[in-house]
């Protein structure tokens, strides 16, 4: 599973990346929505963990963009602001789930894995459908 973390706080990105690597998960980081899309274009990433509140392109805009360009990528929204509106907006735009800051590393991994499994199931279905053709 390849993860990408998108947040404007670099220290958050570096610490979480270190934690993930310690847990044996390969993670890419991006400090803005634009950078995240750039990186998505260049490498295969399965799950994106996306902060809602960012300068420039905010979380929801980035989400819409990602889903448009890479519909297969699973996106988990990360917010300091667990409001119904944000959650509903995110989920409507195609987010898989949402997380509330501060979140423990184990919870984060669990959610990411759930998303990854979902993606794998979806890919499986696509493969099956294509094989039947």
């Amino acid at each position: 599973m390849k993860l990408m973390l998108v947040d404007d706080e670099e220290r958050f990105l570096s610490s979480i990346a270190k934690l993930l690597s310690k847990k044996g998960i390969d993670a890419v980081t991006a400090t803005s929505g634009a950078e995240a899309i750039e990186k998505l274009k260049r490498q295969t990433i399965h799950v994106v963990i996306l902060d809602v509140k960012m300068p420039g392109m905010d979380g929801n805009e980035t989400l819409v963009e990602i889903k448009k360009l890479f519909p297969m990528v699973e996106v988990i929204m990360l917010t300091g602001h667990a409001t119904v509106e944000f959650a509903v907006d995110g989920l409507k735009s195609g987010a898989t789930d949402y997380l509330m800051k501060p979140i423990g590393i184990d919870d984060l991994i669990q959610k990411a894995e759930e998303a990854f499994e979902k993606r794998q199931r979806l890919e499986e279905k696509i493969r099956m459908a294509q094989a039947r053709k």
Binding site: E9, R11, F12, S15, I16, K18, L19, K22, K53, T79, G80, H81, A82, T83, V84, A87, M100, K101, P102, I103, G104, I105
Partner: protein
């Protein structure tokens, strides 16, 4: 100052409410009284005058008829015939058939000798030559006397007519039945005291007066005689006893007699007095009514205004508090959000340290030691404090923005016992007596059960804490009540006999982070979250408390449907 304001308002309203109706009311009464009085007075006086006029005419015509009787005799019979014995008696009989007005009849020759007489007295042969009336009748040809005593020594008056035949004058005289004449005059009877009588030019009574005053006496009241040529006069005069009378007078008999009709003023204007009493009565009753109604209405208006003002004030307070809390909610939510980001990093860093430490220990690079144990304890503590911070920010976010909730009809009669069950044990441990009074007609409310549970639980826990603080583990009481308020609202009361809240604190208890509990024991968010929930459901939550006696929380929620 506020009180003063109401006092001034009360006075103004009262003054206008009394003066505005009472001025026209009194004016109407006064004008009515004035016109009624004048019209009654003038009509009374007119009536009196008419009575006097009629009566005067009747008396005059009576006298004229009697004179005509004598004229008829003197012109129909010759002197020689009349003095024949028995002739006069025959004529007298004849006259009396016509009008029973004469007492006697007599014939006099030029020398005043009473030559023939018919009547009850023995007057034949008496000589009247020097007598006043005889002189006058010879001179004027006709004479009516005042009342006098004469030979017979009885009050009477006479009518005499003279005739001249061949240079010789003779006279016929009749005495008027003074009893009959008296009755004729006295017949007038007006009200209780109205009476009529005749005075001669010297003010001597010519007829009896019903209220006292004999013939030929002078009544003590001084009547002012009207002008010689005046008609019927009316005036008020006071008699010797000080009684006021309305006098009406008319001249009779060529202004030699004065017909007087008098009536006590009080008697004349009796209806007037009755009207005056009635008006005074109406004035008293009406005035009292106006003043009473004014006082009553004024009191009601002012009280209603006071109520409205205080309602407005408390509404204003609530609005201010609500808007302040809303602002605070926004701010707190933003603040919580901002805190969550660094909190996230701290959490990450703490996990990293922990992991690295574990690795070092595993690799044997770190030997177990007291300082290592202390470091691990510190890390645990950091983790704990971070999660505490997270709890706080969660709480703030809950207060500021409501998370997802499910609205449904809730029956408080089921919900309250459920929540009570959650705190029953805790209450029992602290010796608190729980009492539930859930009215059978408590309406359903529309809301999220878990939120309402949260509110009640919060209030119950606060109540228990307050009771424990005051009573320890004995004598605590907590009561919960529910019931309808005017069909559209539901009231929930949570009462305790705990330590109470001071006035200055009770204004702040719904403010986020306000707590009186020791550090670490409470976040100061419980009641602000309750407030947010109740506000969200369109209800209100209020507190009334007395320091040292207890606290009552009142929740008002709209009824479902």
């Amino acid at each position: 100052m506020k009180k003063n304001h109401y006092q001034t308002m009360r006075k103004t309203i009262l003054a206008s409410m009394i003066l505005v109706p009472i001025i026209p009311f009194l004016l109407v009464l006064a004008i009515g009284y004035y016109y009624f009085t004048t019209s009654l007075e003038s009509s009374t006086i007119t009536r009196m005058k008419r009575i006097v006029e009629d009566h005067g005419q009747m008396i005059e015509s009576f006298l004229a008829e009697r004179k005509a009787d004598l004229d008829f005799i003197i012109h129909s019979y010759r002197y020689e015939d009349l003095i024949q014995p028995g002739k006069l008696a025959e004529i007298f009989e004849h006259l009396q058939k016509n009008a029973n007005a004469f007492v006697d009849l007599g014939i006099f020759n030029q020398d005043g000798v009473h030559v023939a007489y018919h009547g009850p007295f023995k007057l034949t042969g008496k000589v009247y030559k020097e007598v006043d009336w005889f002189q006058k009748v010879l001179k004027q040809g006709y004479y009516t006397s005042d009342i006098f005593l004469g030979y017979r020594q009885i009050p009477h008056f006479i009518i005499a007519v003279a005739k001249e035949v061949d240079g010789k004058k003779w006279v016929i005289r009749a005495t008027i039945d003074s009893f009959m004449f008296n009755n004729l005059v006295k017949r007038v009877r007006i009200g209780k005291t109205g009476e009529a009588y005749i005075l001669n030019a010297d003010g001597i009574l010519q007829t009896e007066r019903r209220s006292g005053g004999n013939l030929m006496t002078k009544p003590p009241d001084n009547i002012k005689y009207p002008e010689e040529n005046s008609g019927i006069e009316s005036f008020i005069n006071t008699d010797a006893k000080g009684e006021k009378y309305l006098f009406t007078t008319a001249w009779l008999k060529d202004k030699k007699w004065l017909l007087v009709v008098r009536q006590e003023k009080a008697d004349v204007f009796q209806t007037l007095r009755a009207a005056a009493y009635l008006i005074i009565l109406i004035m008293i009753i009406g005035g009292t009514g106006i003043i009473g109604v004014a006082f009553f209405l004024c009191e009601r208006i002012v009280r209603r205004m006071e109520e409205m003002d205080s309602e407005k004030e408390s509404l204003g307070d609530q609005l201010i508090r609500a808007s302040r809390l809303a602002e605070l909610g926004e701010m707190a939510a933003g603040f919580a959000h901002e805190i969550n980001n660094p909190l996230q990093i701290m959490k990450n860093e703490q996990s990293l340290i922990e992991m690295n430490l574990a690795e070092l220990k595993e690799n044997g690079q770190l030997k177990p030691s007291e300082s290592l144990a202390e470091m691990e304890d510190s890390l645990d503590q950091i983790e704990l404090q971070i999660s505490r911070c997270a709890d706080i920010t969660q709480g703030i976010l809950k207060f500021g923005r409501q998370t997802e909730y499910v609205l449904q009809d809730i029956d408080l009669r089921n919900l309250v016992p459920e929540v009570i069950a959650l705190v029953e044990k805790k209450a029992a441990v602290h010796g608190i007596r729980l009492k539930q009074t859930l009215s059978e007609d408590t309406p359903l409310i529309h809301g999220d059960p878990s939120q309402l549970q949260q509110v009640l639980l919060n209030l119950f826990n606060n109540a228990i804490d307050a009771v424990v603080e005051r009573h320890g583990s004995h004598g605590g009481e907590m009561e919960i009540e529910s019931g309808p308020v005017d069909n559209l609202k539901v009231k929930i009361l949570v009462k305790d006999n705990g330590c109470g809240i001071s006035l200055q604190n009770s204004n702040k208890i719904f403010t986020p982070f306000f707590t009186t509990k020791p550090v670490g024991k409470g976040t100061g968010l419980g009641l602000s979250v309750c407030y947010g929930i109740i506000d969200n459901l369109g209800g209100t939550i209020n507190v009334s408390s007395e320091k040292g006696h207890g606290t009552t929380f009142t929740i008002i929620l709209p009824a479902a449907g």
